[in-house]
């Protein structure tokens, strides 16, 4: 059994990076397609996670701890961003309940 297991390929950094790319793409598509502001936010979180994943993979490959601290920073900033973003959403939605991203079009040219 262990011999079979040992013969299986080990996931290399490239695999992780490809996975991160796919996650990122899904997030990007989600932002473009969804209309509910909160769901759009969640798709942005997906993209951020994809970035975090690639940072960590490369940190491991390069042997640099700086990658992991960067991920820490990203998480903190993401948290701050979510807080502020949701505050805005709350402020907007109070006036216009059930508005979608397509209804908030005042800033057009």
């Amino acid at each position: 059994m262990t011999a079979v297991l040992a013969a299986l390929p080990v996931p290399t950094t490239t695999w992780y990076l490809v996975l991160a790319a796919m996650l990122f793409t899904i997030g990007a598509v989600g932002v473009m397609v969804r209309r509910n502001p909160l769901v759009m936010f969640m798709c942005i979180e997906l993209m951020l996670n994809a970035v975090n994943l690639s940072f960590v993979s490369l940190a491991r490959q390069l042997g640099d701890i700086g990658g992991q601290t960067t991920v820490l920073f990203v998480m903190v900033v993401a948290a701050a961003e979510v807080v502020v973003g949701l505050g805005i959403v709350v402020a907007v939605m109070r006036r216009r309940p059930n508005a979608t991203a397509d209804d908030l079009v005042e800033l057009k040219g």
Partner: protein
């Protein structure tokens, strides 16, 4: 063994991600997000970033997603969105094109570059494969954070305070007829 774990984690991540973008109901989307975040945490552990995995679970899925759910419940925006209709006609095909292009380009870049990224040139990460006296992951992160990047760290705390203050101001209910103070 690694492969199996990887495949399971990757499956969790991808299923969750797809779930976020295709579920009508925002609460279901939030729960799919949680699935994705757990999958990412598992991948972190596989990469020997244990501290980050913990932070991921606690902060991301434990705080941020909870925040999302709170807002959804509070505001009552939990009405399901009708994904069948699309007001802007060109959006869906464009999204597919953009998505496809993005994926293709990124994968090409990654695959082409796999031989040219050097290994092990950075400072300070102790991998599990190494023997001998080694610091734990958290110790390494702390050394880096409070050493080279202490200034950024301080700024980060300022950022958090500002964000909190800002949100409080933004989301206050207007006093009677006047605007927010």
């Amino acid at each position: 063994m690694d492969l199996v774990v990887f495949c399971c984690a990757a499956a969790m991540v991808l299923v969750g991600a797809v779930g976020v973008i295709v579920r009508n109901h925002p609460v279901h989307a939030a729960l799919s997000l949680v699935l994705t975040l757990f999958g990412v945490a598992v991948l972190f552990i596989m990469q020997e970033a244990e501290f980050l995995a913990a932070v991921q679970v606690i902060v991301y899925s434990g705080a941020i997603v909870v925040l999302f759910l709170f807002v959804i419940m509070l505001l009552g925006v939990d009405k399901a969105e009708n994904l069948q209709i699309e007001p802007i006609p060109v959006q869906r095909p464009l999204a597919i094109v953009v998505g496809g292009g993005l994926l293709a380009m990124l994968v090409t870049a990654v695959v082409q570059a796999r031989d040219s990224v050097p290994t092990g040139v950075g400072a300070g990460i102790d991998l599990a494969t190494q023997t001998g006296d080694s610091d734990s992951n958290i110790k390494q992160i702390a050394t880096d954070l409070f050493g080279d990047r202490v200034f950024a760290f301080e700024l980060l705390s300022v950022l958090l305070i500002v964000a909190v203050l800002g949100t409080v101001v933004l989301s206050r209910k207007p006093d009677k007829a006047g605007g927010p103070q």
